[in-house]
Amino acid sequence: MIEPDVLERVLAAAVRSGGEFAEVYAEDRRSTSARLDDAKIEELSSGRDRGAGIRVISGDTTGYAHTADLSEAGLLAAAAAAGAVARSGGGGARVVGLTASPPHRVGGVEVPPDTVAKSAKVALLKRADEAARASGAGIVQVSAGYGDSRRRILVANTDGLLADDEQVRTFLRVLAVAAGDAGMQTGYEVVGHTVGFELFERYQVEDVARTAAQRALTKLAARPAPSGQMPVVIRHGTGGVLFHEACGHGLEADLVGKGASVYRGRTGEQVANPLVTLVDDGTMAAEWGALGIDDEGHPSQRNVLIRDGILTDYMWDFLRSRQEGRAPSGNGRRQSYQHLPMVRMTNTFVLDGPDDPDDIIASTDHGVYVAQLGGGQVNTATGDFVFGMTEAYLIEGGRITEPLREGNLIGNGPQVLLDIDALGNDFAMGGPGTCGKDGQGVPVGDGQPTLRVASLTVGGTAT
């Protein structure tokens, strides 16, 4: 994307007015997306976004400027803008010498999406539409989307770091609408991995579509969700978002450092039931949050955050780890070259426990079984978090019975981690997610075995 000697000159220019550290982050992203709606392919779209962001750190202040102009002149202009934060400092000429880091790649792409005919991509959507509509007469509408992206990144900084990565992601989603006497209901399913077009060797499009359709049809007969506190069992591979919200964000060092996390100052303490070991792992090949290097050039790694219920560590970016004099953890990420990096999760999951998942349900007298979770949101200061249930059932007498309409669940993170009283031995990763923080979205993965929270507030309307 940019020659090393150009990077060296740009970095030197960025610190000329006195900055202590400068970084160039360049990105070249190509994407293809296709959309089916109302039984026809509406559109195939392609895009290219390319640019660089330059960061200069001077004392406690960060200057940032980005440009879509990757010429040396364009980069030098951005370097001057970012370096202006240090204008008061004593400048001077500094020579920057870059050393290329050994490549750190996770996984690999078997079928690069740009080698696949566009017609093959839209054909997937037609198959999804037909399969969803064939699932039942109640299906009145189907929309489906396909997307692939190839993101090449390059990071260089005044510490001499020079690293690059290529991240390829592919996904397919289906939304089905069913209509019945009591109105309309929706069913959703998505598959996505950090892989190429071989995604569709792993998943049959028809299965994805039928799953979405069946969810919508099932909810036609659903009754309103209950209201109040009760045990909640969450199916494996669907509930990682619970940990993402209940504690993941609260373990991000930037929030901890600002006193905006309930987990501040609690390393070494028991913060969860001893059954719980929580890991954030960017090296988990093929998962949605996988990356070779983070967006600050550091290799992704496996970080144990909670071991046997004890809080072991937070997640770190360059800025925070530099302040603390420790190594970064590979969690410095950004949405694009137009954004400053910050601490973000990658693939966050809870390891297997001892319990048979069937026993977990059988030992629950009255509660809710959540088979698919929607998104969530957390207030890291209080630890209160919500997450949506998009497929759920009542548990009565140890058996899964009637389907429930949608709703949010609400809990308090620190309390919920302690209230996990059963953890299955059936670990599975969940589907692709997009995590939002301060206006930036990044791809993340999550996973967990079947588990039970002894008490959560179900936000339904039935008393």
Binding site: D38, K40, I41, E42, E43, L44, S45, S46, G47, R50, G51, G59, D60, T61, T62, G63, A65, H66, A68, A82, A84, V85, K118, S119, K121, Q141, V177, G183, M184, Q185, T186, A225, S227, G228, Q229, L255, K258, G259, A260, Q338, G374, G375, G376, Q377, N379, A381, T382, D384, V386, G388, R405, E406, G407, N408, I410, N412, T457, G459, G460, T461
Partner: protein, 448 residues
């Protein structure tokens, strides 16, 4: 690149339409400046410039699209070629076509403030620092500030089509945002304050700081309350969030695609007679105001709900053509996507009582100050909603103890009919929509 050049580029691309082909070019460019203050210093300064082009081609009833995040000539050529190629893979639809000039004159709006463009960065830095300092000094329980920031941006967009559209517009806006932290006895609460405007003089740092601090400290000691059905007063920002979801359920797109519970209800009472809802991008008070929509048609006022009666749906040129009506100039887009139908500047009818007056009138209930999980807890197809809520109990017509970790749930269809009062406290918000406090009867609260 100055303004005529941006329109010139769009027109040059549109002029490359071949026989039997329609070509549309949407070209935009913007500058942004953001400063974040932290503990009396500047945490970060971001200055940025971005530009891009999106090209749509329609031929033989098919549509193709491509975009690039740059205006380099080679990229522009590539985008046009890609859009033509992509078109081959879409399926034909007799209603696909670009917008055509419809004779509606654009509103005369001054949306660009040269004073904002000329504002020295030092003054922006000072504003962010001052906001943080004000928040810290207003109450001893304030333990810190997660974020205090000033942001501003200016942007311009040109749209040209081979069907005769050629428009250009520009605008600017600025905002401040702050998240105070309050800590007492090991408990921490975080709050939120924001103000937005087109001119530096529109920003009221003092009021933003006071409001954010008041919202934060009053939640100290908040606890769940027992599950119950009760009357809620939705703070105007919360009300605006719900109404913007309702606005999204009133577009020609979701109606045609059978994804709106209001699809067959035109002319019927769908809300309390107290509620009217107007999407009017010609109103300069909204930061969503614009002279043209995303297809280059002049914006206009669209009344969606009139005294509770569903009076119209929003349309872009495609949904209008397919529905046998005319576009309401409601195409929403950036350079990286084709237009979709949406609200630009949605505002509800305004009542007479302020929030305190509504609270006094309600007597017993809950003031909902914040909601969480809107994206996971509101289904715009079924209308079911269930969201996390923070706020204050209302007892004897006044605010009582603070509440957290509860949910409120109903359906949007019921909520609109259950509006029992509309506040007079209209506020225009950063997204371009406006809110007023709304009183909703008979909502399910789930708690302890």
């Amino acid at each position: 690149m100055s303004s005529p050049e941006l329109l010139d580029l769009a027109e040059r691309v549109a002029a490359r339409a071949r026989d039997g082909e329609q070509v549309e070019a949407y070209v935009s460019r913007g500058r942004q400046f953001i400063v974040r203050a932290y503990e009396g210093g500047v945490e970060s300064l971001t200055s940025a410039e971005s530009a891009g082009i999106g090209v749509r081609v329609v031929r033989g009833g098919r549509q193709g699209f491509a975009h690039a995040g740059t205006l380099e000539p080679s990229a522009v050529d590539e985008v046009l070629a890609d859009a033509r190629d992509n078109l081959e893979f879409g399926e034909p639809d007799e209603w696909y076509a670009l917008a055509e000039p419809d004779g509606v004159a654009p509103p005369d709006l001054e949306l660009y403030d040269p004073a904002l463009a000329a504002m020295a960065p030092e003054r922006k830095v000072a504003a962010a620092l001052e906001l943080e300092q004000m928040v810290r000094s207003l109450d001893p329980r304030i333990s810190g500030v997660r974020t205090a920031m000033w942001g501003d941006g200016r942007g311009e967009a040109a749209i040209a089509t081979s069907t005769g559209i050629a428009v250009w517009s520009q605008g600017s806006s600025c905002y401040v945002m702050v998240q105070p932290l309050a800590a007492v006895d090991g408990e921490t609460q975080i709050g939120f304050g924001v103000d937005v405007g087109r001119r530096p003089g529109d920003i009221d740092l003092d009021e933003t700081a006071r409001d954010a601090v008041a919202r934060t400290v009053r939640l100290i000691g908040a606890k769940p309350v027992p599950s119950q059905r009760l009357t809620v007063v939705l703070d105007r920002r919360v009300a605006a969030s719900f109404l913007s979801i309702v606005g999204g359920m009133l577009t020609g797109e979701v109606v045609l695609k059978k994804r709106s519970p209001f699809a067959d209800r035109l002319g019927e009472q769908i809300a309390s007679p107290l509620l009217s809802l107007v999407d009017d991008a010609t109103n300069p008070l909204s930061v969503g105001a614009d002279t043209h929509d995303g297809e280059g048609l002049a914006t206009r006022a669209n009344r969606l709900i009139d005294a509770g009666v569903l009076s119209a749906f929003l349309h872009d040129s495609y949904t209008a053509r397919r529905s046998g009506t005319v576009s309401t100039a409601s195409a929403v887009r950036g350079y990286s996507s084709t237009p979709s139908v949406g609200c630009l500047a949605l505002a509800p009818s305004v009542g007479t009582l302020d929030q305190a007056g509504l609270i006094a009138q309600v007597g017993e209930g809950l003031l909902v100050q914040d909601v969480s999980g809107l994206h996971s807890g509101v289904n715009p197809v079924s209308g079911d909603f269930s969201v996390g809520a923070d706020g204050m109990m209302i007892r004897d017509g006044a605010l009582a103890e603070p509440v957290r970790e509860v949910t409120i749930a109903s359906t949007l269809q019921r909520m609109l009919l259950d509006i029992v009062a509309v506040g007079g406290d209209l506020e225009w918000l950063p997204g371009g929509d406006a809110g007023v406090s709304l009183v909703i009867g008979d909502v399910s609260l789930s708690g302890r």
